[in-house]
C-alpha cells in the first residue's frame, strides 16, 4: 500500500493558528507559532513533550526523505523513530532513563505507509511559505515561525538522488548542472567545477566514465540528506553536504563509516540506550572514522562541508547485529 492511499487522522484547521493537529495511534501531534507538542498516555497519565517547530520539521523532513533510514532517528532525547523495515516504531521517552525507569515511556509500531503518510501531511501542513527544512538556517530564515502562512510543496517534495551505478552513465542518475537547475551553493563558490578529461575509444563511450564528485556535491541544494553516488554490490557511497546541526541523533543498526571530504564536522557521541555522552569526534578533511553500531551521533558543521557516508546496504545486517554475530566496531582487529 502506498503512503498516498492511507487515510491520515487529522483535525480541522485551528481557528487560532491555522494549523491542523494529527494523531497516529496513541500519539498526538500539534503545532503553534513556535512549538510542536507530542503527546501520549502512560500509566493512565497524559504526558507531552515540547520541541521547537523548526527542529521538529527538520527531523521529520529527514524521516520522509530517508524513508526512516537505518536504525534510530532520535529527534531529541525524548522522541524518535526506529526503522523496522516495512514497519516503523515511534517512541517517546524510551531512551530517556527518567521516563523509561518510571514506566512513562510509550512505543508503538506502525506500518510504514501509514507513518509516512502522516509525516508527509504534517510536513505539508506545518511548513510555511519560504521555509525549507532541508536548508541551512542562514539560507531559509525564520518563516517557520508564526501562524500558518502558505506552504512550500517544492521544498518538501524533493526526491532523494539515488544512482544505479554512477551518476552520468547512460540511463543512470543525471549530473548536476546550472542548466538542470542545480547551481553551485553559496558556500562552495570556490570549489573547482572542471570535469575530468575522458577519452573513450569508439564503442566504449558508455563504460569509460568519470565526473567531478566534489563539483557534484557543491551543487547539492540540501543539507544532511545523503544521495547514493556509486555502488559496488551493496557498498554504497552516500555523499552529502552538511551545515549547522544534523536534525536527528542517529543511532545506527550497523557500523557506518564517515570520510570527511572537506572542512570540519564535530560529532557528539552518546550511548545508544541511555544517551550518556561518550566522546566527541572531530573530523577534518581526509579523516576517516567509524560510527559504531552501539552509539548515537549528532554532527555540527560550522561551514557547509562535504561528508562521504559509507554504508553497507546488506538487509541482513540488523538481524545479525541483534543476534550478536557482528562486532559493533573494529577495535578487536588491532
Amino acid at each position: 500500500m502506498a503512503a498516498s492511499e492511507v487515510e491520515v487522522s487529522a483535525s480541522p484547521v485551528s481557528n487560532e493558528t491555522g494549523y491542523r493537529s494529527f494523531e497516529l495511534g496513541e500519539f498526538g501531534f500539534a503545532r503553534d507559532e513556535y512549538f510542536v507538542y507530542i503527546s501520549w498516555t502512560a500509566k493512565g497519565q497524559k504526558l507531552s513533550h515540547t520541541m521547537s517547530a523548526d527542529a521538529f520539521l527538520r527531523a521529520t523532513m529527514r524521516c520522509v526523505a530517508w524513508g526512516f533510514f537505518y536504525g534510530w532517528l532520535n529527534f531529541d532525547d525524548i522522541f524518535g523513530t526506529q526503522q523496522l523495515y516495512g514497519r516503523v516504531k515511534f517512541y517517546a521517552g524510551r531512551f530517556s532513563p527518567a521516563f523509561h525507569d518510571q514506566g512513562l515511556d510509550h512505543e508503538e509500531i506502525f506500518e510504514t505507509p501509514r507513518a509516512m503518510a502522516t509525516f508527509k501531511e504534517m510536513l505539508a501542513d506545518w511548513t510555511n511559505d519560504g521555509y525549507d527544512p532541508f536548508a541551512a538556517p542562514d539560507e531559509t530564515g525564520l518563516s517557520w515561525i508564526g501562524k500558518k502562512n502558505g506552504s512550500n510543496e517544492e521544498a518538501i517534495g524533493r526526491e532523494r538522488e539515488v544512482c544505479r551505478r554512477m551518476p552520468g552513465l547512460p540511463g543512470d542518475a543525471p549530473l548536476r548542472t546550472d542548466e538542470s537547475g542545480r547551481p553551485v551553493n553559496r558556500a562552495f563558490a570556490d570549489v573547482p567545477q572542471d570535469q575530468p578529461e575522458v577519452h573513450a575509444e569508439p564503442g566504449f563511450e558508455g563504460e569509460v566514465h568519470a565526473h567531478n564528485l566534489f563539483g557534484y556535491l557543491s551543487r547539492s541544494d540540501v543539507t544532511w540528506n545523503p544521495s547514493v553516488s556509486s555502488i559496488v554490490k551493496q557498498s554504497l557511497f552516500c555523499p552529502t553536504t552538511e551545515e549547522y546541526i544534523l536534525p536527528v541523533k542517529h543511532g545506527n543498526d550497523r557500523m557506518e563509516w564517515f570520510i570527511q571530504l572537506s572542512d570540519q564536522i564535530d560529532w557528539e557521541i552518546e550511548d545508544k540506550e541511555t544517551g550518556r555522552p561518550r566522546a566527541k569526534v572531530i573530523m577534518k578533511a581526509g579523516d576517516v572514522s567509524i560510527m559504531p553500531a552501539d552509539i548515537r551521533h549528532q554532527g555540527f558543521s560550522k561551514k557547509r562541508s562535504m561528508l562521504l557516508v559509507w554504508e553497507n546496504g546488506n538487509p541482513d545486517l540488523p538481524a545479525m547485529y541483534e543476534k550478536g554475530e557482528l562486532p559493533v566496531n573494529l577495535s578487536g582487529e588491532f
Binding site: 570535469q195 563504460e207 554490490k233 570520510i259 581526509g286 576517516v288 573494529l330 577495535s331 588491532f334
Partner: protein, 171 residues
C-alpha cells in the same frame, strides 16, 4: 546575519590537519580513526592500505606516484582522487574471468600487460571520481612528481588489500 564569505578546506599531502577524539567514557580504538593524507604520506606507491572495512567491503587509500601495475576485478570499483593529478588507462580484457573469476573479490594484479582492446584514458584531479568497470584492466599513472596523487578506492577486500590498523589509527 547572512554569511557571505566562505573558504572550502580540502586536505592534501602537503597540507592536512588530522582531527581528534575527545574521550568522555569511551576508547579511541572504537572509532578506527585515520587520515588518508597521513597514510598516503607514509605509503609506498600503489600500496592499497585499508582505511575502512565493513564485512567484505573496504575503502583503500593509495599513494599514486609513477606508474602502477595493471589490476582487474570481478566487480566494479570506483577511484576518487583526493589530491594530485592521476591518469587512468583502461583495457577491455579478452578473458577477464581467467584472472578474476566471479567468486574472487577485490583487486587482482595482472602478470604483465593486459590482453584486450584499449577502452580509453581518463585524466583526473582532486575531487574527480572514475568508474573502474568490471571486466576491464586498469592502471594509474601519476607522471608529475610535484602532484603525487592520493586515491580513495571503493572496492571489496582482496589479495592486494593491506590492513595495518594499529599503524594508521588512534589507539
Amino acid at each position: 546575519m547572512a554569511m557571505t564569505e566562505f573558504q572550502t578546506v580540502f586536505g592534501s599531502l602537503k597540507n592536512y590537519e588530522k582531527g581528534d577524539i575527545e574521550i568522555i567514557d569511551d576508547d579511541k580504538k572504537n572509532y578506527t580513526f585515520s587520515n588518508v593524507f597521513e597514510i598516503a604520506s607514509k605509503s609506498a606507491p600503489y600500496e592499497r592500505v585499508v582505511v575502512g572495512k565493513n564485512l567484505e567491503y573496504v575503502l583503500e587509500t593509495i599513494r599514486a606516484e609513477g606508474t602502477s601495475d595493471w589490476y582487474t576485478t570481478s566487480h566494479d570499483e570506483f577511484a576518487l582522487v583526493m589530491d594530485g593529478y592521476v591518469e587512468l588507462d583502461l583495457v577491455k580484457l579478452d578473458n577477464p574471468e581467467t584472472i578474476a573469476p566471479p567468486e574472487k573479490e577485490g583487486a587482482v594484479k595482472l602478470k604483465g600487460d593486459p590482453e584486450g582492446k584499449k577502452m580509453g584514458l581518463i585524466k583526473m584531479k582532486r575531487g574527480h571520481q572514475a568508474l573502474l568497470p568490471v571486466g576491464a584492466a586498469y592502471r594509474f599513472r601519476a607522471p608529475d612528481s610535484d602532484a603525487v596523487g592520493v586515491i580513495l578506492m571503493q572496492t571489496c577486500k582482496g589479495e592486494e588489500s593491506i590492513e595495518k590498523w594499529a599503524e594508521i589509527c588512534y589507539t
